[in-house]
Every structure is written in C-alpha cells, then in structure tokens.
Amino acid sequence: MKTNYPLFQLMNERGEKIQEGTYGQMEKERAKRFYEQMMRARLFDRQAIHLQRQGRLGTYVPYEGQEAAQVGSLTALDKQDWIFPSYREHGGLIATGAKMESVLLYWGGHPVGSIPDERRKVFAPAIPIATQIPQAAGVAWASKLQEKEEVTIVYFGDGATSEGDFHEGMNFASVYQVPLVLFNQNNGYAISVPITKQMNSETIAQKAVAYDMPSVRVDGNDVFAVYEVTKRAVEHARSGQGPMLIEAVTWRKGAHTTADDPAKYREPHEGEAFVDPVERLTLYLKQEGWWDEEWAATIEREVLEEIERAIDEVERYPKPDASVLFDHVYATLPSSLERQKRQFIERGGRA
C-alpha cells in the first residue's frame, strides 16, 4: 500500500529542492515568511513548557517537530474558511495570527482562552479524540447547503483514525460530498502507542479508498509540500468536488503533554530519520543563498519579547468570575442556576 501512497515532497531531507511548488511557495519572500511563522510557533512552545515546569501554566500540549505540518496547512486556507483543531494545533494557530495571550490563558485554565480568535472561524480545540471530525463534516455540509464559498479543515492525529467518529465523519463527508479537508498529522505515537499497534494498515491515506475519497500522503516536515497538497485539497473542496484526506507524516519530538515522559515508551534513536522541519527549512534557505544570521536573530529576539509581553499580560489577568461560570450555560439563566449563582457569590466566589 505504501507504494500506492508515495510520500509527496518538494524538498528532500537535506533541504534541497526536488521540484517547484505550484503556488510560488518556494520563492524567497514566502519561504522566509514560513521560517518566521515556524519559529514563532517553536519559540512559543519552548517557553510554554518552561512556564509549565515553573508551575505558571497547567498541563500543556507541546508540538515541537510538527510546525511545518501545521503552518503549511493553515496558511493554505482563505479568510472565510473554518478550522477545527484538535488540542495540538495552537502552534500553527499562533503562527498564523492567534493571540499568544489567548493560548496561554487556555492552558492556564481560563475559559476566555477557548474563545476563538475574532478574525477567523476557528472552533475551540477538541479534547476528546476524533469528535471534531463529524462536527466539521456538518459545518462543511452547512456551507454546501447554504451555497457558501467556505471550506472546512479538520485536524486529528494518528490515534484518532481508530475512533468511530473518524469513520462516521469520513462517511458523512463522502456521502454528502462536502467541502472538507481532513488533515491528519501522523506523528507516530498516540501517547505511548506506536502507529504499528494502532492499525494494521501501512498508511492512513489508504483509509480514504473505502469512502471513495481522494487522499495524499505528504512529508509533514516539508512545509512547501504540505502547503502544496493542502492548497490543492482546499481548491478541490471549494470547487465542489468533495472532501479529501491528507496524511502528513511527521514526528512528535517531545512528550504527548507535559505530564508525559516518552522515555518510558520510546527508544532514544526513534525518530532520527525525521529531519526537524525548522532545520530543514534553514538548510533550504542557506542553499538558496537567502539565509541571513542577523535576520534570524532579529526574529528570535522579537518573538521572545512578544512572548514575554504575553506572559506578563496573562499573569495580570483577573480571575474568572461568577458570570463566566453561570451565564453561558444557557442563553437565559434558569431560575435553578440563578439560585446557585447567588450561593456561589455568598460563599465567597468572585461576583
């Protein structure tokens, strides 16, 4: 099956261009922009892990190693498109405009952090596995029924493909031919369970055959290739040709969450075949003669400063009050909840 689904690449592991991108994404300005975006995601991730270690953040989900898969796909969308993330896509979201404060608040346990960013139709992260897939199919279905020009992209990991909701979502998307891009980040592990124990299939891409849906297996650490296939899938969906499945093969360099220790289940040499996506892009920029140490240092300094400002703001953020707890359960507060809200305040809860 693997031969039926060859890994699509535009640059190889040494950062050498194999073929040209269709959308100009390998040209100087765009390539440098990808670097900026991926660094933004990476530096944030590392700082967030530090914050968690210092007890300033709750359990945090890192994504180092998956920046190209996230940035390459999210940048292929238009402004009106819907995004259904799982819980590991805040890297790509930050890189493409989400507020760092908001992401820090979310992992810091503040509900305001799950209010999606205003400029895009991003849904709140799905914590259960695969549940967002059929929901996204429904959103895309509504776009089709209302003849809106929107495409929906839904993110999920390799483990999610074992869930019923993955298959139900694939089936509904296929039956109603909705404008949906199913973006799988196959990062090799579902917490501690390797893909080889997750499924007997060689690829995730092949699962689309059962739903008569086109699919592609892409090198998830090649940002240009990810952009290329996502752009094609989005165009395919927007032009009314139905859904498409993308398997982006990548590697979770770190832990599943900050509460997880991969040393317990992974050998140190595992994942060596994966060249880090940021390093790969750096090699590409160097080969093209576009690398500039000073430019890279400026990016790093500016992003780190921005992260510091975001942390400052978040740490001064007021504790949520009774209205956050009670006023959004229903559109109108039922009298039973009104009583409980009064009780909450009487017992010292923040009014």
Partner: protein, 325 residues
C-alpha cells in the same frame, strides 16, 4: 378544533417548521422516503425535498455530530434518533460537545439543535427499544430535556424547542404516539419550555410524572377520587433544567407527594424531585415522598414488561400508603 394523535401533532409541527423557516432541516435514519419508523415525518420529504428531509447513514454519533456542525454554521437542524435506546453512540457528542459548546466558548458558539427521540416501553417492542433513560441526560448542563404527554403539548413544545437558542433533547413517549388524542390547533403555537403543567387539582396528595406516565396518573387520580382521595396531578414537561416551584407549591398545599416514572428507581429523575421536595417543603410533609418506578434491572423482555412498569394499581397503592402513613 381538530382532534389528532400525538404523532399527527408532531408531523404537523414539523411540516409547519419546514414551511416557515428555510434553514430547518430534518435528518435521521429512515426519516425521508419512509417517513420515519413511526411515520412522524411522513410525506415531508415528498413535500420539501431531499435537501430538507434527509435520510442519513446509520450512525447516531455521526447524525448528532453533523447536526451540531449544521447548527454551528447557520442551519436549524432537527435530528431524529430512531429510539432513545440507540442514542448511546451519540452520548459522547452530547456530553462532551453539544451541551458544553456555549459555556466553553462563552457564548461565541452556540448549538440551536433539537434531537427527537421516541422513548419508553409498554408496546411489546424488541430489546433496547423500550429504554426510558432520560435521567442520563439530566446531568448535562447546557442541554434541555423536554417530554410532552399530550398532542397539544407535543406540537407546541416542539415548536418552542426549535425556537430555543440552546440544544434540546425532545423525548416522545412511544406508548402515547397513537393512544393519546386531543385538540390541536392548525396554526403554529408555542408551549414554553421550563414550565410544568397542572393537569388536575386536588388537596390530598400531589402526583408527579411526565410522558407516558401521565395517562396512568390521571386514571389513578380519577379512581382514587371514588375513595375520597383528591389528587393534584403535575406534568413536569421540562425535566432539565428543572424548575421545581409549581411542585413545591402544590406539596405545601397537599403535604404529600408521589413521584412516578417508568425508568428504574435508583438514580431516576424521581430521586431529584423527591430530594428537592424535602429540601423546600420539609415542614409541610405528612409522609415521606413516595416513588413508583421500575425495578433496578435492565428493561426486561416484553413478556414481563407489564409487571415491570408502573401501573394504575401500583400508583393507587402508593397513594393509599402515603395517605395512611
């Protein structure tokens, strides 16, 4: 005014909803060409087309999840789950998403979705088809749970549920689909959610129930009046969020209460009602709040269902015991 059955009233409500709002879509298993296994959506696909009345794949989680997506993106979905006993694959979607989307996004995203599900026993159905597991859904803040007991309420509550900005689980008592008849106006009207109905006035004891238990309570009340026991009968109608005021008021007057449901006794919704009565009307009570419910066993094969379910006699017996406590 026209007399009709509950199933006819529901069909008329859905016809009117499809007619009056182009965003309304009905989706579920067999709801289209077949008109639903109970014919609740009979002829609606013929009239409104396959884009509005949609036969979905046989996948309950998929139905509720895609309906959620439709609701998030501007549509007004009315999903049918064929029997409440088959809703459990969708429980995850309802528990982890449908009920929480408003609160976890501080009302940025909302799910105006109605889920219809026939429920309850007494019709000699195969296994799993008779479940009355409403209590499982009264522990999901964000969701509303509504149960009509008359044709008039079925139509008015369904229309109100579809106007509600929050998700509603609308449970239809299978046993009452064709056995209850009543006057139903042709026009569209709403019966507000969150308001119980006083079905009969009386001074001696308050009988509390919903759905298919209501005809049983009313018959028991009628027969007990021949024994000079006057029952007040309350139809809860909206189980969740629970608004106990009318019940408390009534029990303060009668000093006695019997709660009846066809669900199993332990952790049934009667436990909540009983608890709220003792919290709010303790000093008024002249006897403990009684519960008439089914036994704590899985719903039996139908050869035993009449012995398993609450009956007029069981309710009358409980009332007599309450009166002589």
């Amino acid at each position: 005014m026209k007399q009709m059955t509950m199933i006819q009233a529901l069909q008329q409500a859905m016809d009117g909803l499809l007619q009056s709002d182009g965003g309304v879509v009905i989706l579920g298993e067999d709801v289209g060409k077949n008109g639903g296994v109970f014919r609740a959506t009979d002829h609606l696909q013929e009239k409104y087309g396959e884009q509005r009345v949609i036969d979905t794949p046989l996948a309950e989680s998929g139905i509720i999840a895609t309906a959620t997506g439709l609701a998030l993106n501007g549509m007004k979905p009315l999903a049918e789950i064929q029997f409440l006993g088959f809703i459990y694959p969708a429980y995850d979607q309802m528990m982890t998403h449908v009920s929480r989307i408003r609160s976890r996004t501080l009302s940025k995203y909302t799910v105006p979705l109605v889920i219809r599900a026939p429920y309850g026993g007494g019709v000699r159905a195969p296994e799993i088809h008779s479940d009355s597991t409403e209590a499982l859904f009264t522990h999901m803040p964000g969701l509303k749970v509504v149960v009509p007991s008359t044709p008039y309420d079925a139509k008015g509550l369904l229309i109100a549920a579809m106007q509600d900005p929050d998700p509603v689980l609308f449970l239809e008592p299978i046993r009452s689909y064709r056995s209850t008849r009543g006057e139903v106006p042709e026009e569209m009207y709403e019966v507000p959610l969150g308001e119980p109905a006083l079905r009969r006035e009386g001074d001696d004891v308050t009988l509390i129930g919903w759905g298919a238990m209501m005809p049983i309570l009313l018959e028991a009340a009628e027969r007990l009046s021949e024994e000079a026991i006057q029952c007040e009968v309350i139809d809860v109608r909206t189980l969740y969020p629970f608004e106990p005021e009318l019940i408390i008021q009534s029990v303060k007057k009668t000093s006695r209460a019997v709660v009846v449901h066809e669900a199993q006794l332990t952790s049934g919704f009667g436990a909540e009602i009983s608890s709220q009565i003792q919290e709010e009307a303790f000093l008024y009570l002249r006897s403990p709040v009684a519960r008439v419910a089914s036994y704590d066993v899985p719903y039996p094969f139908f050869a035993m269902e009449q012995d398993y379910l609450p009956s007029v006699d069981k309710v009358m017996q409980a009332v007599r015991e309450t009166m002589t406590y």
